[in-house]
């Protein structure tokens, strides 16, 4: 069987950053890019299933919707145990929102025909937590979000999963396959890629496909296929927080004044 693992290159911001001239995103000069942390866990879950199943039973395919810059995280996925890597891109995909990205991934699923799709529960930069669920909706597949435990025999018609709920509750449920699972942090311990596997990954090919090659209608890509558009990004004015300056005794005295003011 095949497990498809959609992954994303996410931005983490410097302590001090500036916005792009159009005010709709952060200037990339102030961003560090890496594989989405949630996707490290979904990838590890897939690779663990593959390793438990033995040689040749499970194939793990990492896929990303990105420019050539996305090759770096695909290589990382290959080094961590993915068997193949696919990057889907052309200029028509620029400005895609999470739903438009889900349309691309859903087409990739139809193209690859996996038995399971493991997404990260959300992306660390935008945090919509929608892509995986939207993929399931577009495919008409069963889905479960925020999966914190997984028991599955490759090829079986049903998987048993745990989901984290409020108040420390865990919900155990069965889910029919094929299915889309969005994986929560902490479900496993993602591995570090060994130097050897990094070198091997650098020699592996990355399959690059255009939206048209996977059968995606141009009306469903990029802005045309999106349900939302970023109008602007900004930092709201600060609230009532105040930095207490001065020597420790001065800070303590001021803190006491504030407590008295608040308590009346």
């Amino acid at each position: 069987m095949k497990i498809l693992v959609p992954i994303k290159r996410v931005a983490s911001l410097d302590d001090e950053f500036e916005l792009r001239d159009d005010g709709r995103d952060v200037d990339p000069d102030f961003c560090e890019y890496d594989l989405n942390e949630f996707d490290e866990y979904s990838l590890e879950a897939a690779v663990e299933l593959k390793e438990r199943a033995g040689e040749g039973v499970v194939e793990v395919v990492a896929v990303t919707v990105d420019t050539q810059d996305g090759d770096e995280i695909l290589r990382k996925a290959l080094a961590k145990g993915a068997d193949r890597a696919i990057r889907i891109w052309d200029e028509s995909l620029a400005e895609s929102d999470q739903i438009a990205v889900a349309r691309v991934i859903a087409k990739a699923v139809e193209h690859e025909k996996p038995g399971l799709v493991f997404c990260g529960a959300q992306s660390a930069d935008h945090g919509h937590a929608q892509t995986g669920i939207a993929v399931a909706g577009l495919l008409g597949w069963a889905h479960a979000a925020v999966v914190s435990g997984l028991s599955y025999e490759p090829g079986a018609p049903v998987a048993t999963i745990d989901r984290e709920l409020e108040g420390g509750l865990v919900q155990k449920l069965s889910i029919e396959t094929p299915a889309v699972l969005t994986i929560q942090l902490g479900i496993n311990k993602p591995r570090y890629a060994s130097l050897r596997s990094i070198k091997q990954a650098n020699a592996k090919p990355i399959e690059v496909l255009s939206p048209a090659e996977i059968g995606l209608d141009p009306a469903q890509t990029g802005l045309a296929g999106s349900l939302s558009r970023v109008r602007r990004m900004y930092i709201p004015e600060r609230g009532r927080s105040v930095m207490i300056e001065g020597a420790p005794a001065e800070q303590a005295a001021r803190l006491l004044e504030i407590v008295k003011e608040v308590n009346g």
Binding site: E16, D29, E32, Y192, L195, E245, G246, A247, A249
Partner: protein, 464 residues
Amino acid sequence: MTAPGNVEAFLRECVKRNDPYLALPAYDLAQGHALQGKVEAVLLKSSRLRIVFGNLPFAPSSFLARLVLEANDAIDLRVARNQNTDSATLDRIDARAVRVDIRRALASHPHAGARLLAKLEAAGDDAIRALVASNANASAATLNAIFARGSRRGWGMIARHPNADPELLRAIYEQGDLPARAEAAGNANCPADLLADNCASPSPSIRRKCAANPALPTGLRLQLLDDPDPGVRAEALRAMPGPLSRELCARDEDSCQVRRRQARRTDIHVTLIERLAADADPWVRRWLARNPSTPPLTLDRLSRDDDAGVRRSVGRNAASPAPLLARLAGDCEAWVRAGVADRPDLPAKARRLLEEDSSIDVLAGVARNPKAPRNALSRLASHTDASVRRAVIFNPSAPALVIRRLLSDDYPLNRALAVGHHKLAVDVSWTCAADPEPQVRFAASKRVAASLSPRIPVHRSYES
């Protein structure tokens, strides 16, 4: 792979590989060299890199100076905050700094010179002046200027500043609020008459600061040892020069705050030691267990204490005898066993026992032990836990062959640390110059740069 044997070859290699993380440690060596421009081109090839390097705490100060040659606020801010930036570069930034956040960064930089701070004081607002007042390089004149402006903001910082002169401290004492007066009373430059008066202040905060003041005459400090406030007595005891008198050495105390302070002194009487060893407060016993002057018999008693923290403290005490360490190696608490695992004076038999321990903390301790045998270190270097493997790297006596294996550790931080191990030959470190992780390549390059710098001796002969 042989490491570049001279500066020219090293710089050429950095340029050829076009790797900024290799080129950064080479920058000092490139100064004035024909290849300087090419090395700079590698380092400055993207605006993202300039921003990243401006932030790096280990970027050479010469390179930070180069970064600010082109005016760019984003880079200026990062370089002004970088602790490696030298005073000349800060002056250059100041000459064009308009943004308040940059000027604040300059005002609080530890390398900002007295003249720059005076300039920032003259042109700044109260917030910048408060930062100048807390900067150790601010001169007495600058501190007086801040005070003369009348805003009370930052008076506490002026009052605790080592360059505040006695008359300024007197003025702050007369006009300031209680916290500022307390700081003035604690300043070593506080006028003697003011200090003496303050020892009888109704405010415990002021008396505590007096008790801690290193300039307080011994007679006054002795008086404060009888103060009704335990905080004052504890401070007076901490600052009391030794050795203590016989009476003070055996003094009974009802406050655990003061008894904790007693337990830390190395000049207390044996009768007091015995009392403190039976103290109900575990922190008193912990401090006593760490005290290098605690006699072996008392340490033996403390090594059987119910509190694991006390037993651990005995294990960390340099004066604890070997048989005691051996007993603690068999303690039921892993944290206590870990406390003795890295000690070179731990008897070999006990150390061998710990080599088989299941606790990561204990194994990491053994891995750091300079007396750990080669076969144990070799085994620990293959442990599944990255922190145990890293502890082997921290062992200065670890054989080069064991460290060499760790150059291919899965965990990048371990590789970066292993590259710099002094037992590795520079040629071996240089094999990591193509590592996928920038921090590892940086460490490899730094090792070569150090070997080529006349200021830093290189040990090429360590490899076994």
